[in-house]
């Protein structure tokens, strides 16, 4: 009888793993199943542009099944619990799936309920988010009518998915209001629990001027005790208050609720994972990838992409009873919109902070940690790469799973 590989989650990481492993596991020996609550695949980087009317919904929504290889069964269902002791997963509809090997790619979610007052009566009236499709849509409608006032962009607590997105949102908002001719009637404030908008020395030195240049006010070391919706202000545990007319918040991020029901996660429902192999710390037949892990890497699609290459090798090694590769180095790579049709590109890992230099080849054509139009075009082009290359788990030319050492380091 053939063995069963089960993948929980049909997002970026789960889809890439299905494509990697279906090519490498003979169908006569392994059947494969992917489970996800949704049959839609969302291009999440598009949520950053949707509120400004730059993307249409049709640009960012596809059918999950269209990216699954043949001979992978897709089940649309809600996972109830994972019980690694029994090699079983129960679904909310009562079905039980037995597996020989499981990959948990259940991602992360925003949890606005974690902050007092956030989900009050003005949620999505003047308290908005853009990390969900519904949130990005509601914010688009809000911004279309916005004429003047205090706009506050807020990070509730770390870690968050795509950690630079709130800052990018702030830069894009500056451009958006300027193009609408109302920048002088709008104040922009960026509120973070960290000690700055940029916390790594090289990025801070190189990019620290951007906020001041754009007239963006910065509030640091701010941990929100509550959102006071009655008086339209954010309140910090130390008593500081930031008033707003429009709050664009990034709620606390947590792992999937199925992880909590299965008692597999930490206090944010992220699953303890070995940082170089992607095997669960607790269970050898459980592998974890993408936003669902507790790794000290960014929660981002590029990270899932680099992880997927190591994990595909490690799943094969594990099946053959061989030692796993201690290979994943925390590699992350992303375009950062800086407004005015420009963007930055950063590349880093567990060891090296974002630095300057050419990318992806020794001659470029892109430059790291520098604002340019080319990087912005790269970010826009990346959507096509995502749908056509990345999800199908084809290699990206010049971009290796492990980070190349910076030349000047």
């Amino acid at each position: 009888m053939s063995k069963h590989l089960l993948i929980l989650g049909g997002g970026t990481a789960g889809t890439m793993m299905a494509n990697h492993l279906r090519r490498r596991l003979p169908t006569s020996e392994w059947r494969m199943t992917v489970v996800d609550r949704s049959d839609k695949h969302l291009y999440q980087p598009g949520f950053l542009f949707l509120p400004f009317g730059k993307y249409e919904e049709s640009d960012i929504i596809r059918q999950t099944r269209d990216f699954m290889p043949r001979d992978v069964e897709f089940i649309q269902a809600e996972v109830d619990q994972i019980t690694p002791e029994n090699h079983a997963v129960t679904l909310k509809d009562g079905r039980e799936l037995k597996y020989d090997l499981i990959i948990v790619a259940t991602g992360c979610r925003t949890a606005p309920e974690e902050t007092a007052g956030m989900l009050g009566p003005k949620w999505r009236v003047n308290v908005h988010d853009f990390y969900t499709l519904d949130g990005a849509r509601a914010l688009r409608d809000k911004l279309a009518d916005f004429q003047s006032g205090r706009v506050v962009v807020h990070i509730n607590e770390m870690p968050i998915k795509c950690p630079v997105a709130p800052l990018e949102f702030t830069f894009l908002a500056d451009t958006f209001f300027r193009e609408k001719g109302i920048r002088d009637k709008v104040t922009l404030t960026y509120v973070t629990p960290l000690s700055g908008a940029f916390t790594k020395p090289k990025a801070s030195k190189k990019l620290g001027h951007l906020l001041g240049d754009k007239g963006i006010e910065l509030v640091t070391d701010f941990v929100a005790e509550k959102v006071d919706q009655e008086n339209n202000k954010l309140v910090c545990f130390d008593g500081r208050e930031v008033p707003y007319d429009l709050l664009v918040t990034t709620p606390t991020n947590m792992g999937d609720e199925a992880v909590r029901r299965s008692a597999l996660g930490d206090d944010l429902d992220f699953i303890p994972t070995q940082k170089h192999t992607l095997q669960s710390v607790e269970y050898p037949d459980v592998f974890v990838i993408g936003d669902a892990t507790n790794l000290p890497a960014s929660k981002a699609g590029s990270v899932a992409h680099f992880e997927s290459e190591t994990l595909a090798d490690n799943v094969m090694l594990h099946i053959q009873g061989k030692p796993l590769k201690e290979e994943f180095d925390g590699h992350s790579n992303c375009f950062i919109e800086s407004g005015n049709g420009k963007a930055l590109l950063i590349d880093f890992n567990y060891e090296y902070e974002p630095h300057e230099g050419p990318f992806p080849f020794s001659f470029g054509p892109l430059k790291l940690l520098e604002e340019s139009r080319l990087n912005h075009l790269g970010k826009l082009a990346f959507r096509h790469v995502y749908w056509n290359v990345l999800l199908k788990a084809w290699p990206l030319p010049g971009i290796s799973r492990q980070k190349k050492k910076p030349a000047e380091a």
């Binding site: 607590e157 770390m158 870690p159 950690p163 630079v164 973070t192 629990p193 960290l194 000690s195 940029f198 916390t199 790594k200 020395p201 990025a203 990019l207 640091t220 070391d221 941990v223 005790e225 910090c236 545990f237 130390d238 606390t252 930490d266 206090d267 944010l268 507790n294 000290p296 960014s298 992350s332 950062i336 950063i346 880093f348 902070e353 974002p354």
Partner: protein, 103 residues
């Protein structure tokens, strides 16, 4: 880079965070606390500092949330103990890396 504090030479990064946790001791913690304007360290401060060091040694990510739920201290008390920057100041005093974002 090196820095001499409380009569001991220690390795620190450009922002003054220890880069070698094994060089830490309570006298160093007390001296950093004075530099950071936290003042003399009380038992309440030390409970937080020791908790941070234990968590760091276990490889756990340090967050305001995990401290607030640890039973050691509430988030509000944390701000009272380390005014102006509870996580960054307590981390510096505990001799562990600064909490950072990706850039």
């Amino acid at each position: 880079m090196n820095k001499t504090i409380a009569g001991t030479e220690i390795d620190v990064n450009e922002e003054g965070y220890l880069t070698n946790a094994s060089q830490w001791n309570e006298a160093i913690a007390a001296a950093i606390a004075v530099e950071e304007g936290v003042g003399p360290l009380t038992d309440a401060h030390m409970k937080v500092v020791n908790y941070l060091r234990e968590q760091q040694a276990k490889g756990a990510a340090l967050t305001i949330r995990s401290m607030g739920k640890s039973g050691v201290v509430t988030t509000k008390e944390l701000y009272d103990l380390f005014p102006g920057g509870p996580l960054k100041k307590s981390s510096k005093i505990a001799g562990i890396p600064k909490p950072v974002g990706c850039i």
